[in-house]
């Protein structure tokens, strides 16, 4: 067994970025407060000192501007990592991401590609109210030409940035804010990770819980509680939101025949809806009960703690949903 180091998810992200910057001089980090401040979430603390202003670039408060600059740099042979503070703010850069980054390979007939990596935090739970707490990754997962990933583990937090930089096309990494302080084990010498496949984080035979990102620890905690009742829930971490790894999901559905989908996004027109649709298309005859979704309430995420807790998927909600599908 390889040695592991205990650290926070935040530190795993930092170590991954450090490794990326160290292994390739064309990699650079750009975003609001990534340099002198050390990153809004302290992910790039100390980077400016090690790599200098050319590679750790503080950007003005203009998402469209610096994301566009990142895309331009990628077009010209560099490997930019652009940090956007939250997915809510990334909407200012939506034009650059959807109309440029996602399209140029196709519109140029494959002559040019955009190897940009965009990182952003997503999700609620920190009482930051409706303009900083939403989970809009499902919107990005709608768009062909983008690759969307959501690291839920320390190994993915470390490894996905490296894999994303190896990808010749734009990759958006969604880091759930509530994961940042989660402690876990990371291999002392972490191996590479892929960006293609979902992962079964806990095996089980009675129900499948399909989830990703910040909801993975909630699903695992729920599975632990359910196990005390003799209900074995299998937790599938999607990892990649676009493309979706249908094979892993369907394999689990064919085993358990019952499905709960946990997604911090809203239900309407969502990633959770897409997963349901695919299960119905591909594994209808394996379903033994109607599927259930545990999603955020269809309101802008509230500020007040008790309201925010009520609005977001909680462990108890997942437990209740699994009980219902196996009833």
């Amino acid at each position: 067994m390889t040695d592991t180091v205990r650290m926070t998810y935040r530190e795993a992200l930092r170590q991954g970025l450090l490794a990326a910057l160290r292994r390739d001089p064309t990699v650079f980090l750009m975003g609001e407060d990534v340099g002198r401040y050390g990153g809004t979430y302290a992910v790039s603390k100390g980077f400016l000192e090690e790599f200098g202003e050319d590679r750790i670039r503080d950007a003005p408060l203009s998402e469209s501007g610096f994301v566009g600059a990142g895309i331009g740099a990628a077009l010209n042979g560099l490997k930019p990592v652009v940090e956007v503070m939250t997915v809510n703010f990334s909407l200012l850069a939506l034009d650059q991401i959807v109309n440029n980054a996602a399209t140029l390979r196709h519109m140029s007939g494959g002559q040019i590609n955009v190897p940009v990596v965009i990182r952003m935090t997503t999700g609620g739970g920190r009482q930051l109210a409706a303009q900083h707490s939403h989970s809009l990754e499902g919107w990005y997962a709608h768009v062909p030409g983008l690759r969307i990933v959501a690291p839920a583990t320390h190994a993915d937090a470390y490894g996905m940035i490296l894999a994303a930089l190896d990808d010749p096309d734009p990759v958006i990494i969604f880091e759930h804010a509530m994961l940042l302080n989660v402690e876990g084990e990371l291999a002392a010498e972490p191996g590479p990770v892929d960006l293609d496949r979902a992962a079964v984080r806990r095996g089980g035979s009675h129900a499948t819980v399909v989830t990703y990102g910040g909801s993975v620890p909630k699903a695992l905690e729920a599975a632990g509680e359910l196990a005390k009742e003799g209900i074995e829930a299998e937790v599938v971490d999607l990892r990649s939101l676009r493309p979706l790894d249908d094979a892993t999901v369907m394999a689990s559905v064919r085993k358990t025949h019952r499905v709960v989908i946990v997604d911090e996004g809203w239900k309407s027109g969502s990633l959770s809806a897409e997963i349901m649709a695919r299960i119905v298309e591909q594994a209808f005859f394996d379903l033994d009960a109607p599927m259930i979704r545990v999603c955020s309430e269809e309101v802008p995420v509230p500020y007040a703690r008790h309201l925010e807790e009520a609005a977001l998927p909680q462990v108890a909600d997942v437990v209740a949903a699994v009980r219902q599908v196996v009833a």
Binding site: H257, F285, D286, D288, A289, V325
Partner: protein
């Protein structure tokens, strides 16, 4: 839109298990076509359709239990513009218009009575999970017999597999169960008969010398396959005698007797596996004797192969049962509801017979009539037996 519904294939039948379609959407069907097969307690029955049209949608699925009157398919009448049939809820039409989709029973109000009255005639698609449906199909498990334990009472994969395990554990009995079902069907019909029909019984000893000699002579030059059995002559005689006693021929339904213009003799046929059926030979009265024999032969064969048609199971207007082959001298029959009479024949016997003051050897049979006293009295029955006697004395007229 024509609704093709589950027919009542017996007085006791409440539902049938759909087996298979012989038609598909777009097919044109004519009156009398066999369009599907339905499993009843008396075995598989080829079901005919009585309206011409074009198949629009097949609703019934193999394995599904459908109550009598439940819609199995929608057809468009010739010339009718095809509309999409309603989905999900299959409603039996009371009058011209289709009923609106059923409201939940909790929707109380002025129409509550009407709703509950209609509810008995409604069936909704059974709640079966897709996985359970697929597995049941693989294992040939009849979903209709299962009780669901899943969400909203749905039949789940586990329900199907548990049912299979139960079936496997009592597999040796499985064969007995279809015989049991037939036994149950006979029990229900006969209990209903004895409970509701005030039977009266009349018997007459009838000389059949002339008839049997005539038949033997008639059969002599013929190949074996074209010979007419005495049983066929008996049927012909009954049909002829019935013309004079129309009140023994028909059905007692909803408190009134409905005479039948045509005579469709039901013929009691014992099944090799036990039990019996009494399918009808249509228009027995007008069939020439040789044709009647062919129909009888065909009917017995198909009854034993389980290939009877729905109309044969429902149309009989009176039943004839003959147990002479088994050595029985006299039959005291139980009427098959909703019919109102049953004619029984015993074994032809050589008997001492007084004729013109002398004892002679005569061949006779015991003919009996069981009749429904709600419809006729002994006078009618006596008249029928006298007419039956005359038929046997003038066999030439039966050819």
């Amino acid at each position: 839109m024509i609704e093709f519904t589950m027919p009542s294939l017996g007085a006791d039948m409440e539902e049938g298990t759909f087996v298979e379609w012989h038609v598909k959407p777009g097919d044109t069907v004519a009156r009398g076509d066999v369009v599907c097969v339905v499993e009843t307690q008396k075995g598989a029955v080829d079901v005919e359709i009585w309206e011409a049209g074009t198949v629009v949608e097949l609703v019934a699925q193999p394995g599904q239990k459908i109550p009598v009157g439940g819609v199995m398919a929608y057809l468009s009448a010739p010339g009718e513009k095809v509309q999409a049939p309603p989905v999900g809820v299959h409603v039996r039409e009371e009058s011209g218009g289709r009923e609106p989709a059923p409201r939940p029973p909790s929707d109380a109000g002025a129409s509550a009575v009407a709703i509950s009255a209609g509810a008995a005639q409604r069936t909704t698609r059974a709640r079966v999970s897709p996985a359970a449906r697929k597995r049941a199909s693989e294992l040939s498990v009849d979903l209709a017999g299962l009780t669901g334990t899943g969400p909203q009472g749905a039949v789940t994969l586990a329900d199907v597999e548990n049912a299979t395990a139960r079936q496997a554990s009592r597999a040796p009995e499985k064969k007995a169960s279809s015989a049991d079902a037939m036994r149950a069907a006979i029990a229900a019909a006969m209990a209903k008969s004895k409970r509701e029909i005030p039977h009266y019984y009349l018997g007459a000893e009838i000389r059949v010398d002339r008839a049997m000699e005539w038949l033997t002579k008639r059969n002599e030059p013929r190949p074996v396959t074209e010979r007419v059995l005495f049983a066929a002559l008996q049927l012909k005689a009954v049909a002829a005698a019935l013309c004079e006693s129309p009140r023994l021929n028909g059905h007692f339904v909803d408190g009134t007797f409905r005479p039948s213009g045509a005579i469709h003799l039901g013929v009691a046929i014992s099944m090799r596996g036990g039990g019996l059926v009494a399918p009808a030979i249509h228009d027995t009265g007008t069939l020439p004797l040789d044709d009647l024999m062919r129909h009888l032969r065909d009917l017995v064969q198909r009854a034993r192969q389980g290939q009877l048609r729905s109309s044969e199971l429902t149309d009989a207007t009176i039943t004839v049962t003959s147990l002479g082959d088994l050595g029985v001298s006299t039959v005291y029959g139980v009427i098959y509801p909703p019919q109102v009479a049953l004619v029984g024949f015993g074994r032809p016997l050589e008997r001492p017979w007084v004729e013109d003051g002398r004892v002679v050897v005569a061949r006779t049979i015991q003919a009996t009539l069981s009749a429904d006293h709600r419809v006729t009295d002994g006078m009618t029955g006596a008249g029928f037996l006298a007419a039956l006697d005359r038929q046997f004395q003038e066999p030439e007229s039966l050819a």
